[in-house]
């Protein structure tokens, strides 16, 4: 099957979007390391309950 130039562009665009989405998710997960979570819990526990 021969693809038109437009179809190839569309496929590349979709692939790029998928890769970008994955990379974004990975960077978010990297940011959520254990130390960050521990600090978040510590911060939450140190607030006065007022």
């Amino acid at each position: 099957m021969k693809l038109t130039k437009l179809q190839i562009k569309q496929i590349i665009k979709e692939e790029l979007e998928a890769v970008m989405h994955e990379a974004e998710k990975e960077s978010q997960l990297e940011e959520l390391n254990e130390e960050d979570i521990k600090k978040e819990l510590e911060d939450a526990m140190s607030q006065p309950m007022k």
């Binding site: 140190s46 607030q47 006065p48």
Partner: protein, 311 residues
């Protein structure tokens, strides 16, 4: 037992007596806080009591960031004095030499960081408490102080948590709280705090999750009660928490009624689902599990930690 440990235990028990006296505005006890401080503490206990009171004031009304890391302390003009941060009851600490007009120093924060974990993991049973009070005849009590005022359970609410933090917490075997945390005998205050919402988009927003911890403490913890600046039946606790059970409340797609789940495996699956849907940018209506409205009731048991002989 070294002398110093005896002094620590004495100060711990007297502080509890003060908290009980402060909580009872009726004349159940024959002495108020200033008189307990003046007449029950020996000179060797007064110095440690003064340090402990300063530490409690800093925990309840001081700078929490500095308490965690005293190196962050900045000596600023216009900083609050101990009087500004004290509850009415603790203002009587001048009788043990606390200068209420003074402003906290970096050394005070360093000392509080050292003292609070020690005092908030200590314990005293009802019998030991009563014996100690009876051993101080100089107090000349008309009616004995009684120890059975508080239950064995304390509560702690937390809110504005990310889904990831909730997942981390529910899967912990033991939670390290050795830096001291504020808890309360008042379930309602803690529950209401766990349900507080921070607006999405605000700089302080972290996440939608609220958590209510129910902690079995036995006779452990530094009971502050009405001595607290916020008058919240406060107990300061440090040590470790073992997570005994978790109940998750959530709203699933197609329903407005909250559902409950207690199986940890299913809870993990549901949190993962909520994280996936959030990360996919799904609208609230399209999410299979709604992050908003997700809350947890966690039962935990406090485990005492070792403390040094000398402070």
């Amino acid at each position: 037992m070294s002398n110093n440990r005896q002094v620590q235990q004495a100060v711990f028990i007297i502080f509890r007596a003060m908290a009980q006296a402060a909580s009872n505005q009726t004349n159940l006890y024959s002495m108020d806080v200033p008189n307990i401080l003046r007449r029950m503490t020996s000179p060797s206990e007064q110095e440690l009591m003064r340090r402990l009171i300063k530490s409690v004031i800093l925990l309840t009304a001081g700078n929490q960031e500095v308490l965690r890391d005293p190196e962050l302390f900045v000596d600023k003009k216009g900083m609050k004095t101990y009087r500004d941060m004290s509850s009415t009851h603790l203002m009587s600490a001048h009788v043990v030499g606390l200068n209420l007009s003074a402003r906290p120093t970096k050394e005070d924060y360093v000392d509080a960081k050292k003292l609070l974990p020690i005092f908030s993991t200590m314990s005293v049973g009802p019998e030991e408490f009563d014996q100690f009070i009876a051993s101080r005849p100089e107090t000349r009590l008309d009616a004995p102080l009684i120890s059975g005022q508080y239950g064995d359970t304390v509560w702690r609410g937390i809110h504005n948590m990310r889904l990831e933090a909730a997942k981390y917490l529910v899967n912990l075997d033991q939670w390290d709280i050795t830096r001291s945390v504020s808890t309360s005998y008042d379930r309602r205050t803690s529950y209401n705090f766990s349900n507080k919402k921070v607006p999405v988009g605000s700089a302080n927003y972290r996440g939608p999750v609220g958590i209510l911890l129910e902690i079995d403490v036995g006779s452990r913890g530094l009971k502050v009660g009405s001595l607290s600046y916020f008058a919240e039946a406060e107990v300061i606790l440090s040590g470790y928490l073992t997570i005994d059970s978790v109940e998750m409340e959530y709203v699933a797609a197609g329903s407005n009624n909250p559902l409950k789940e207690t199986s940890l495996e299913k809870i993990n699956q549901l949190i993962d689902m909520a994280i996936e849907d959030r990360d996919a940018g799904l609208d609230y209506r399209d999410q299979r599990v709604k992050g908003e409205g997700m809350r947890f009731d966690i039962k935990a048991t406090h485990v005492q930690m070792e403390t040094p002989d000398e402070v």
